[in-house]
């Protein structure tokens, strides 16, 4: 029997998704139990049933649960968007925001805040901005010639820079009291708000489609020409991947602002563990991204309680050591 893949990697492909699923469950449970309001175990279970004291039940079911679910959906969605971007652009440095989606969202959000509109408009503005950015990108990339990865990347980076300049401008003309709120949004933070059906649906659908088309994604990773020589309709597929990644990013940004790090590093972490086969990479990335953000959100609330840090700051602090550890191990393995 030919050893198709190294023994370690093939075994990992089986148990890693299970471990990650368990990790998600543990993260969720911890996020529900731990917080500034101290809730004992018996009270906790009663609250889950809806039968605890009014404060405990409200805190667990109305505050912690929706936010934890949001973290799961946003973290999973961003990790998936990152993996898709990395395949689309064939660039390991790609993340969900590299083509300007979060920039467009941020500009619209800042505009809304400057104009003093109620905060409930912010998510709509973020979504509109993200989709506007994607539309602009498609418009700019049109024209003669196949849009290669490098052309797409370059156009996207320029677009993102443009949004960045607009953001700086908007910050400079806004009033002192508004800036605090704007900066906090720009760092990425979760609201105690449920993800909602449409967002969860988007992430789930994207996950399903990515999984079904994972062989196609594997081929796309070989490059446009090679993929076409193997029968892949690359133009249509790449457009679909771009759309999926953009919609996922828009969904995430409307709920939590531009949370960084997850989209870039989680797919790489999974690659170090299970290789580049998207059939395993995609589900593992989604689970790992969700678990990471739930943990990060918990730490953001608890580390300096009663003060609260933006979750987008903690994701990097938690993820970077893990990533460096994995990188070290894989480097050592490949040299042994």
């Amino acid at each position: 029997m030919l050893q198709a893949v190294s023994r370690k990697e093939s075994a990992r492909r089986l148990w890693l998704p299970v471990v990650l699923l368990l990790l998600c469950a543990v993260a969720l449970a911890a996020s529900l139990k731990i917080g500034s309001v101290v809730i004992g175990w018996s009270e906790f279970f009663a609250a889950l049933m809806g039968k605890g004291s009014p404060m405990a039940t409200a805190v667990v079911l109305d505050l912690r649960l929706p936010r934890a679910l949001s973290a799961l959906v946003v973290g999973g969605g961003l990790a998936l968007a990152g993996a898709l971007m990395q395949v689309l652009l064939r660039n390991p440095l790609a993340d969900p925001y590299v083509l300007g989606t979060s920039g467009g969202a941020a500009v619209m959000v800042l505009l809304v805040l400057i104009l003093g509109m109620p905060y409930s408009v912010v998510p709509v503005a973020a979504g509109a901005g993200a989709l506007l950015s994607m539309g602009l990108l498609l418009l700019l990339v049109r024209g003669p010639g196949d849009w290669s990865s490098s052309r797409l990347l370059l156009t996207g980076i320029v677009l993102a820079s443009g949004w960045g300049a607009l953001i700086s401008f908007l910050l400079s003309i806004s009033e002192a009291r508004q800036i605090q709120g704007m900066l906090f949004w720009l760092m990425g933070d979760l609201q105690p708000q449920a993800p909602g059906w449409w967002r969860s649906g988007v992430v789930f659908l994207a996950l399903l489609l990515s999984f079904i088309f994972s062989r196609d994604l594997n081929l796309l990773a070989q490059g446009d020409l090679r993929a076409r020589s193997l029968g892949l309709p690359t133009k249509g597929l790449r457009l679909a991947v771009l759309l999926a990644a953009s919609v996922l990013t828009a969904a995430a940004v409307t709920l939590a602002g531009p949370i960084g790090f997850i989209g870039l590093v989680v797919p790489h972490m999974m690659r170090l563990l299970v290789g580049s086969d998207h059939r395993i990479l995609i589900p593992c990335s989604v689970l790992a991204g969700g678990a990471l953000l739930v943990f990060a959100e918990l730490l953001a609330r608890v580390l300096f309680a009663p003060q609260q840090l933006p979750a987008g700051v903690i994701t990097a602090f938690v993820g970077i050591p893990i990533f460096l550890l994995l990188l070290q191990r894989s480097v050592r393995q490949s040299h042994s």
Binding site: L2, P233, D277
Partner: protein, 255 residues
């Protein structure tokens, strides 16, 4: 058994005319070499034959079916191509490449099945690459990469095989061995083989037909014994060529 036809094929790339109104038929079991100077458009022509580049006019057909009418899948089941460079594959493993090469044969709702795995195993054994396929492409030598890519072509199991400078950068020993073994196998299997070659002597030694791209749309094609002579090659290379005979074989050497 399928034959590959270029019908009135005109191909241009940038401002260069590669070929004009080209009509050739390549029959199963034949091995063709495409020769020409750098920049004349050999790779572009190969890509057009593979259906990966558009042509200005005319068509390419397999068994009288225009390949532009075929779905991507059907085309990939018929035509396999070996590309010239593999620098952009560094993070993939050989195994990934072999599995991907089965893609045209795996249905949308199927997965990689036992049958596919067996084919991969057999090919890896036959090409003696089993010990290489777990490593990332980036760490392999040029020769090892070529062998894996050729194995991928075998896994793709197509009737038409197009090769873009298959033995570039390989040691001479490997060059001879590869061409001898592969071409013998493919001839037996009655595949249609078209190679872009840079070396005149390898081309004349291993192919039975030649297609010479002389530049500016002009071309010359036919059996090797007819086409391979001093006059044609001197014109092709742009430098006087002298023919010598050694061990019963013709050798073409620049003056």
């Amino acid at each position: 058994m399928s034959h590959l036809e270029a019908r009135g094929l005109s191909v241009t790339v940038a401002a260069t005319r590669v070929c004009e109104d080209l009509n050739v038929t390549i029959k199963p079991g034949e091995v063709w070499s495409v020769l020409g100077r750098n920049g004349v458009g050999k790779t572009t022509l190969l890509h057009t034959l593979a259906g990966l580049a558009p042509c200005a006019s005319g068509s390419v057909a397999i068994d009288d079916v225009d390949i532009s009418r075929l779905s991507g899948r059907a085309r990939a089941q018929q035509i396999g191509i070996l590309f010239q460079h593999s620098d952009d594959l560094s993070s993939l493993t050989g195994h990934d490449l072999l599995v991907n090469a089965r893609h045209p044969w795996i249905g949308r709702w199927q997965g990689v099945e036992r049958k596919d795995e067996q084919i991969i195993e057999r090919v890896a054994r036959d090409h003696a690459i089993a010990h290489l396929i777990d490593q990332q492409f980036g760490v392999l030598s040029g020769g090892e990469r070529r062998r894996i890519e050729l194995a991928a072509l075998a896994v793709q199991d197509t009737r038409v095989v197009l090769l873009d400078e298959p033995v570039n950068h390989l040691d001479l020993h490997f060059q001879i061995q590869l061409l001898t073994d592969l071409l013998r196998q493919w001839r037996t299997q009655k595949k249609v083989v078209v190679m872009v070659m840079h070396d005149l002597n390898l081309a004349t030694r291993f192919s039975d037909h030649l297609l010479c791209l002389l530049g500016d749309g002009e071309s010359l094609s036919g059996p090797t014994e007819v086409v391979a002579n001093e006059e044609n090659f001197s014109r092709l290379i742009g430098h006087p060529i002298r023919q010598h005979v050694a061990d019963g074989r013709a050798l073409f050497v620049p003056v």
